[in-house]
Symmetry: C2
Subunit: 685 residues, 2 copies
């Protein structure tokens, strides 16, 4: 009956017009309204971003605590618009009141490059005489200019051109046939594009020329594989079904699953934003994280030859993980029973645009959740795990990033990222020495060394807003072997160092101590362990930023200088490389370094804090990564430690459970599992 | 037709009596035969192990190269038997000829403790007057001795008792009710059991006594959960099915799947052994690994108080990962379409015993294999991955280790281990200080800090037997920012250091350089990258051994002193902590340190080599790990690098593929996937 009542409430909720949840992304209608309000005051602008200006945390928490009496946070739009002459306007528009709250001309910055900005460049380079000339030099005739392609990147920063003109660099490629992968045919020169005038203002030409690659195409599309002998037929289908439906519910954008509750937001920049994540601990809805997102990333390339130093894309801050999000397909990107959410963005002209199926929400079986067999009598309990996965995939020119936020039954939050797509490539001559800065992955194709460094923004709320961060190192006792305190030499412990101020919060990773970080609420002590309730950040793919101190990347990607930074919470601090990233010089370093420098003594112990975690991997390409890269996974965990008094998932039905006294339970009996070579189904259980 | 012919050949193969593959484990009949041969020459023995004495590599390779002309390796049994007075005999019995090849009385060693050895102890402690006395002291009356339990461990090493008498230490527990988890009621004393005389010879009693825990039971069996409110009903089933059958075939114990071929062995000690692993690269069956196994492990506990230094179980060498293997159940331990293999062992009396369903072989969907979308026109190829998982689970007293060997389509071999089961616990008094060596996970229950350090034995055969190992570090260029070689400061590269001799092969892990190891065949160069074909060991959970240099654990677990050791191949070197591990003193260190010390100058470059990799994790317990621990996963990868000239899985049918010219392919269309809240199936694809 409760289920029926729940369902009726849900149905009713869908029938009645509901005001959006304050954390919901702006709808198409809201985007349109924001644009109209701006237009009426400031005509003649192009729109770069119209996104939710998130409710201030204090106001939002007050409203959540007393939704009937506290003021409901207004719907507010955060607007970036561009006027003639690369003029950039940052505005805040209150959609509830219809008022422009603030409107500023921001000098010396360049907002991110949208997909529309990218699309224009290719047609410009194809007809530019200087580009046609360069193509001729390396062996492409003028009538083949339609076979010339480019991946337009922000210029990053190039001190010859500064930050006042909106620029892109065009990484040049060629397709002998329209279906060929252009990454097999990189061109050796790099035009610079002025987005204002829509013209090529310069071309970087290397001292040694590299004529167009003569190698045969290296393709992976269906026709190419068919021509090479076709697809395998020996992989039999695996079906994943939920005949009784899914185990999660969705109200608006609030997803409830087992003990978890989370608001699923999305914006043009970070892509997925998970807010107000709580875990129901035996009836008590305990806050865990206020907000989780991938806030920034940087992909520095390791070839020092000019102009490759400019290849260090901030894919979120310079292009937008939301803007570049794929529209997903059932059974292709995720299998099983899927719930999708769309994403609404503004286009350059101020119209709302929708990416269908931008977000995928689904469950997966996750193998054994826990098991124990008593060796005496073989009594056993075995329980299978389940995970809820909230994901999106974005395409950053050549690369694909598949982002999976995973909730586990045991209270763990996992972030998994799969890297796939295509290597960024550059031309090389036959016999040319890569000097170790890259790998010849195919004749004439040099794939440069690079890193993918992500910045995870963790706004914790471990049983409340006041949290502390401890660096935790697994270390041996200092006492020598033979001493009374450590006679046998086997003593080791978790050395915990509390981070006290933002200015002293930078921590490097240390694999040698299995370093991790506890985000703790020191005011709430686990009654058993007497330790503060906490979530531990367990992350093992944590390379340092390899570009050196003082390098351009080091200056621009300040967040990546440490594995962990902690700051006192500030509503305005979302983007660790700055609000507007393209063409920042790094002097001064924007975002995280600037915030910390502004108040290095800021207390971060028992405070409302934000933890910034840089993780990722260093990629030395190899031929097996080409012409398209098998997905490389990377993961990190946020695990409850001393948070619960007990394993919180003991009430998941076991697959099988027996006890010495003879009591048995068969729970989620899986009669669908079969023996591979007979039709025999589930045995014991 | 080819498929039909294959099937007929398979059927025929099953009908004809086939000689076992030389790598097959001994069958029950072979075990019986080995025992009979031994008995006829040496009556009155108990059997500790009768297992395959694996063919010598040279003989095996000769036979594989010319199966019709080279001699077929004999079936040979490796026998460990125990006579009266703890006399240990090591023997080799040729089953083909019926002869005992060697038979030796081995002095001063103790072979591993079998499940039967373990089972006896509990009944002995229950009736021992000294144990009954100690129970009385901490509050257990003599009539409750049937509620006293123990986990018998090998003694490890205790210099008071030496190595000549076969000993166990009994970690003591209590169950108020037969169904209660005894780990909530650890007892504070530790009897020492003599396996020869089957009596308690000593009891270690702590200076401060800890009476029996008075806390209520903390159980997870079905009746307990029902009594607390019952199991959740909101997790809907997920069905995983393969209506057209599985994609792998099994002939004898050789598994073929897509391009992979592997022989699946199993022994009492290592559990799973994968041999002669090859990858079919466009028709060429390329050898990758000769043999892969988990060869040893050690679980040192970090509490220095006597006698806890003895808690550092070598679960493989002291108990046997095969002997402790669970009998698996369909739908419980693995879901889908499963092929099981049984395992045959000898018992103490010399009879063959079978563990049904000891090994599970099954496929799983593994999400996106690769994907790329062209941002210009949204043409896309997305292909789903698949993995073949060969697994077993073993119960080491309180803990469970789930071992998954995973083959991927892209040529990657993954080893995943899930740790679950129950924490080893010790008694503590109310208010007692754990001193940081453990955590009170429940009132009166102290779970000590510990490490799980596994030793992976990699016998590589990267395109042939002669291989080299390179330590690979991701490092910045040495040239400073502003210098001509590194003007922009962004240069970084893979620094490769070849390991030259066994004596200088020990490598520590370095997270700061994302250290990995390439196992390379320097005689075979990738035609594109000009680098040797290789497999890279990527392992990120690599804590150092925390017990200090000179400690008992350090001496006994020499393999764990470094992340990587490399030795020249030797048929006899399988067990890195020695052939017989219980009661080794570590003086001298057995196994790996002894082998290396015997010939430190042994060349390991371009040689037949073995790489020994120690990995694992350090566990500081928390209440959420109790009373049964949610599975903690850990993984490592062996990835092809410069091994292929191209992504080797491009011929896997895409879920969806389109090209700019309009060519499309829908491959493995998954019409089973549905929208969660409607019945709409697969959309685009």
């Amino acid at each position: 009956m409760a289920a029926v009542a729940d369902r009726l409430t849900q149905v009713a909720a869908h029938l009645l017009p509901q005001p959006p949840h304050p954390h919901d992304p702006l709808s198409g209608a809201e985007i349109r309204k924001a644009v109209e309000i701006v237009r009426s005051a400031h005509p003649g602008l192009f729109f770069n971003a119209v996104t939710l200006w998130e409710p201030r945390k204090a106001a939002m928490q007050a409203w959540l605590a007393a939704p009937n009496t506290a003021p409901r946070p207004h719907r507010v739009a955060d607007v970036v618009a561009i006027g003639r002459g690369s003029k950039v306007y940052d505005g805040v528009v209150d959609l509830t009141t219809g008022e422009i709250v603030s409107w500023e001309l921001t000098e010396g910055v360049q907002p991110l490059i949208t997909m529309e900005d990218l699309q224009i460049v290719e047609s410009v380079v194809r007809r530019d005489p200087k580009v046609i000339e360069q193509c001729g030099i390396i062996g492409i005739s003028p009538e083949d200019m339609h076979k010339v392609y480019c991946d337009p990147w922000t210029i990053g920063f190039d001190d010859r051109f500064g930050s006042n003109v909106r620029l892109q660099q065009a990484l040049m490629y060629y397709r002998p046939h329209v279906d060929d992968s252009q990454y097999t045919y990189p061109l050796d020169f790099c035009p610079i594009y002025n987005a204002d005038t829509q013209e090529i203002i310069h071309i970087d030409v290397p001292p040694v020329r590299r004529p167009l690659n003569k190698a045969p195409p290296n393709n992976y599309h269906a026709a190419a594989i068919e021509a090479e002998g076709g697809f395998r037929t020996d992989l039999k289908p695996i079906h994943i079904t939920q005949p009784e439906g899914v185990s999660f519910s969705v109200e608006g954008r609030v997803v409830k699953w087992v003990n978890w509750k989370v608001h699923v937001g999305f914006n043009y920049r970070e892509g997925l934003v998970l807010s107000n994540i709580t875990f129901n601990d035996k009836g008590e809805e305990r806050p865990v994280f206020w907000r989780l997102s991938l806030a920034e990333m940087v992909v520095p390339y390791g070839n020092p030859e000019h102009p490759h130093q400019r290849k260090h894309a901030f894919d979120l801050g310079e292009y937008g993980g939301g803007y570049m999000t794929n529209s997903l397909s059932l059974g292709c990107d995720c299998k099983g029973a899927i719930h999708y959410m769309d994403a609404d963005f503004v286009n350059r002209a101020g119209e709302p645009q929708t990416i269908k199926n931008a977000i995928c929400i689904h469950e997966e079986d996750s193998g054994i959740l826990f098991k124990h067999t008593d060796f005496r009598d073989e009594t056993v309990t075995v329980t299978r795990g389940r995970k809820l996965i909230i994901s999106h995939i974005f395409t950053a020119a050549n690369y694909e990033y598949c982002v999976y936020w995973i909730l586990h039954l045991d209270g763990t939050v996992q972030l998994e990222i799969k890297l796939t797509g295509i290597l960024n490539t550059y031309a090389m001559n036959p016999g040319e020495d890569t000097k170790g800065w890259g790998t010849e992955v195919y004749p004439g194709v040099n794939a440069h060394n690079h890193q993918h460094l992500f910045c995870l923004r963790v706004d914790p709320q471990i049983d409340g807003p006041s949290n502390s961060v401890f660096q935790v190192d697994a270390v041996p006792s200092a006492a020598p072997v033979g001493s009374p305190e450590n006679y046998y030499g086997n003593a080791f412990f978790a050395q915990k160092t509390r981070l006290e101020t933002a200015g002293a919060s930078a921590c490097q990773y240390d694999g040698n101590t299995s370093r991790s970080w506890d985000i703790a609420n020191e005011a709430k002590i686990n009654p058993y362990s007497k330790k503060p309730v906490s979530y531990k950040l367990v992350s093992r793919d944590v390379p340092p930023l390899l570009p050196k101190e003082g390098s351009l990347v080091w200056k621009r990607a300040g967040f990546a200088r440490a594995a962990v930074h902690v700051t006192k919470y500030d509503d305005s601090q979302i983007h660790p490389a700055g609000r507007h990233v393209p063409q920042t010089s790094g002097e001064p370093s924007m975002g995280l370094p600037a915030w910390i420098a502004a108040n290095p003594a800021a207390n971060i112990a028992n405070e409302d804090i934000v933890l910034w975690h840089t993780f990722g991997l260093t990629h030395f390409p190899a031929p097996e990564d080409f012409p398209v890269m098998p997905a490389e996974p990377m993961t990190l965990l946020l695990r409850p430690r001393n948070f619960f008094t007990r394993n919180p998932c003991l009430d998941i039905k076991p697959s099988y459970s027996s006890s010495p006294s003879g009591a048995k339970a068969t729970g989620v009996v899986d009669r669908e599992s079969k023996l591979a070579f007979t039709d025999k189904g589930c045995g014991k259980c």
